[in-house]
């Protein structure tokens, strides 16, 4: 929709200007417009892929490296988590490749705006991490509650609208990154060990706690807390019944009225500000936000808890309209992405790469030992931008890949009762 309008305007603009001036520059401009419209005509022009995702998954370094190796231009379209979903539903022609979360697939696939990815065209498809493909880490089953990626990974046919129960050759998303989330704390202000999700509502931290105000994720954190407190027993935290939602929200409202929360946050920077300024000492948090607080020289821990982690995963999807050279380029980019350089880059940010072997081949052994094996850093650990992240000798919060991903309790999700949940969440905010 957007694009059509844009082309319409520029074309009419050109014809008038051509008539008026007929200058060489205008002619050149006309040429480029034609290329964008019909890329097949100019085969040797570099192909540009519009890559839709949140800022967390985008990096100028990855785009530059992709350009160098594959010759494909990556044009990032940056929006928030909720807007990624909104764009896919309402403007499916406005991107060529999307990096979105698995949990939103329950809304995205029935919309029919995706084409499944052909497994035969993805070289490393058999090497994808089992945490995503089977819900297993190191051969052991991990938590499957919520929209665990393996439940929504395969479609029955390429343009299908139903998920397949077993492995097929049609994948919904090719994983890019995933991680296990937990509470962030200020160890210097709390001064005692924190071991349970229940601590979020501990009156000891009255007026110094926060939960994230993105309902579909916040409700999961709330469920972890309620389960830890023993106030609610859930069949599936990622797919609550109305009654479970009522009880979960009731606990939150009670805590809110008692003044437990300092503030709620809904974007990355807010969570960093709250924690760094000491307004909160314990809160829902994302891994790179913890890193951002630490980079300011303020102690902050991504605290492993005995009840386990809330995991999420995101991956590449293809819009239904993508075809021809653009489609080939998208596959080429996906293959390059899984080939290790990008994976290593993401591992160094504290995320996990979809294909572990190739990422390992692109990291120094001491880096791999720190990030993935939970060993003390032999040397200073540098971030992807070259800045100092951790001094030699430190250990990653939560330890190794197997320990962290192995302790996943549930996944981000869209519930059957989503509409009801949103309504109750608004009630919590208004309480």
């Amino acid at each position: 929709m957007n694009d059509k309008t844009k082309n319409g305007i520029s074309q009419s603009g050109i014809s008038r200007r051509t008539l008026l001036k007929g200058s060489a520059i205008t002619a050149g401009f006309l040429g480029t417009t034609a290329v964008t419209g019909f890329p097949a005509v100019h085969a040797d022009e570099p192909i540009t892929l519009r890559y839709l995702s949140t800022a967390t998954n985008q990096s100028a370094a990855i785009a530059a490296k992709a350009k160098e190796i594959t010759g494909i231009n990556i044009e990032y379209v940056t929006v928030t988590t909720d807007d990624v979903t909104k764009r896919i539903i309402t403007q499916p022609d406005s991107f060529d490749l999307v990096d979105t979360e698995y949990f939103s697939l329950r809304n995205l696939i029935p919309s029919g705006n995706f084409q499944a990815i052909d497994a035969n065209k993805v070289k490393l498809v058999d090497k994808l991490a089992t945490a995503i493909t089977k819900g297993e880490v190191d051969g052991k089953k991990i938590g499957h509650q919520g929209t665990a990626p393996h439940k929504v990974l395969y479609l029955e046919k390429q343009r299908g609208k139903t998920f397949a129960n077993e492995q097929t050759e049609w994948l919904t998303l090719i994983p890019t990154t995933y991680n296990a989330d937990t509470l962030g704390i200020r160890p210097d202000l709390i001064k005692r060990p924190i071991e349970s999700w229940a601590e979020l509502l501990n009156p000891e931290f009255k007026g110094k706690a926060s939960i994230l105000n993105i309902p579909s994720i916040g409700i999961m954190d709330a469920a972890m807390v309620n389960e830890a407190l023993g106030t609610v027993k859930y069949g599936d935290k990622g797919n609550m019944t109305k009654e479970e939602i009522d009880k979960t929200i009731a606990t939150l409202i009670e805590a809110k009225k008692a003044g437990q929360f300092r503030a709620f946050w809904s974007d990355f920077n807010e969570s960093v500000n709250l924690m760094a300024s000491g307004e909160t000492v314990i809160q829902s948090m994302w891994s790179p936000a913890v890193t951002a607080v630490r980079l300011k020289g303020i102690p902050c821990t991504f605290q492993p808890l005995k009840e386990g982690y809330r995991a999420w995963a995101s991956g590449f999807g293809l819009p239904k309209t993508l075809k021809g050279k653009q489609l080939d380029a998208a596959y080429e980019f996906i293959n390059w992405f899984l080939d290790g350089w990008a994976g290593a880059h993401l591992n160094r940010q504290g995320y996990y790469a979809a294909v572990l072997d190739t990422a390992q081949a692109n990291m120094e052994p001491f880096e791999w030992a720190f990030w993935m094996e939970g060993k003390p850093a032999e040397k200073d650990i540098l971030g992807p931008d070259g800045g100092l992240l951790e001094k030699a000798g430190s250990v990653r919060d939560g330890g190794s890949y197997n320990t962290r991903m192995g302790a996943v309790a549930c996944w981000n999700s869209i519930m059957d009762e989503n509409a009801y949940m949103i309504q109750k969440w608004n009630e919590f905010i208004a309480a």
């Binding site: 909720d82 979903t85 909104k86 539903i89 329950r106 809304n107 995205l108 029935p110 919309s111 007026g207 105000n213 993105i214 309902p215 579909s216 809110k256 929360f261 300092r262 503030a263 709620f264 946050w265 809904s266 500000n273 300024s277 000491g278 307004e279 869209i414 989503n418 509409a419 949103i422 309504q423 969440w425 608004n426 009630e427 905010i429 208004a430």
Partner: protein, 293 residues
């Protein structure tokens, strides 16, 4: 021919603005109104003619009386901010405008001072909001100063993420909307009227109440409309300054849009619009803006 031209000229002159308003204001509003009667799933909206969205916007509102339902509580909270902010900006805005018109004698000085009132708008809304944290936060400048002079022994929590901080930010943002229209009406008051009032023995307060305020009524009404519509629809300031713990009608709509529940969000938007229009309609009962412009 000439007569034809002059008769149609005003319409042609008004047409561009009318067309812009039609396409970018009236049309989207009509679409919103239409969508508010549609049905939806997690991923689609279907044309229909149902009132479910309005029913769920006011879910259990009558049944739970005298307890207030979420929607009533949200609007009540928003209305409360609206009233407080309106009163404060009115007093502040009127005083500032009065000072600029009647106390400042030099025209240049008046211009400079008037421009200074726009300082809050020199930076973006979001940055302005974030800058309150180092000022009002638990470890912020104000708390540290109060601690160091010994006025308090514990940091004050209510300075930030509270009703206080929301009102503070909204007043900070909206006072200028009150100043400008009042300044405009006041500066057109014939000074000889004020002198006449004094000459006939009116006190300062009597002059203010019987001469200046009635003649500034248009400006007050226009400023009030600005402030009320901005505060009623605000969810960014209330969200950031209230630590997202304070509900606002706008925030409810936003989270419904984010959950792809467009029809119910549209229904809530229509309700909000109706409430704002009712307030403005009431306001216009007291002042005939067109007559005075």
């Amino acid at each position: 021919m000439l007569e034809m031209k002059s008769r149609w000229a005003p319409y042609w002159q008004a047409a561009p603005l009318a067309i812009v308003l039609l396409i970018f204001f009236v049309l989207p509003l009509l679409v919103t109104l239409a969508v508010s009667f549609w049905t939806y799933t997690g991923y689609s909206i279907e044309p229909a003619m149902v009132s479910d969205n309005y029913a769920s916007a006011f879910d259990k509102c009558l049944a739970s009386l005298p307890d207030l339902c979420t929607t009533f509580r949200t609007y009540l909270s928003t209305l409360k901010f609206c009233l407080i902010v309106w009163l404060i900006t009115l007093v502040l805005g009127f005083t500032v405008a009065y000072f600029l018109v009647f106390e400042v004698k030099s025209n240049n000085m008046r211009l400079i001072l008037a421009l200074i009132t726009t300082i809050p708008f020199w930076t973006s809304n979001v940055i302005r909001m974030i800058s309150w944290i180092p000022l009002l936060g638990r470890n912020g400048v104000v708390n540290q100063w109060l601690l160091s002079v010994g006025l308090i022994s514990e940091p004050l929590d209510w300075l930030l993420y509270s009703n206080f901080s929301v009102v503070l930010a909204l007043v900070h943002l909206n006072t200028v909307f009150m100043i400008v229209p009042i300044l405009n009406s006041m500066s057109r008051i014939d000074k000889s009227l004020v002198e006449a009032a004094y000459d006939t023995g009116a006190s300062g307060w009597q002059t203010l109440w019987n001469v200046i305020i009635p003649l500034s009524k248009t400006g007050i009404a226009i400023g009030s409309i600005f402030v009320i519509t901005v505060v009623m629809g605000d969810f960014i300031s209330i969200g950031l300054m209230g630590g997202q713990q304070i509900a606002s009608a706008g925030k409810v709509i936003e989270s419904q849009i984010n959950a792809l529940q467009f029809p119910i969000a549209a229904a809530n938007a229509v309700v909000l619009l109706a409430i704002v229009l009712m307030i403005i309609w009431t306001l216009l009962r007291f002042v005939d803006i067109r007559k005075e412009l």
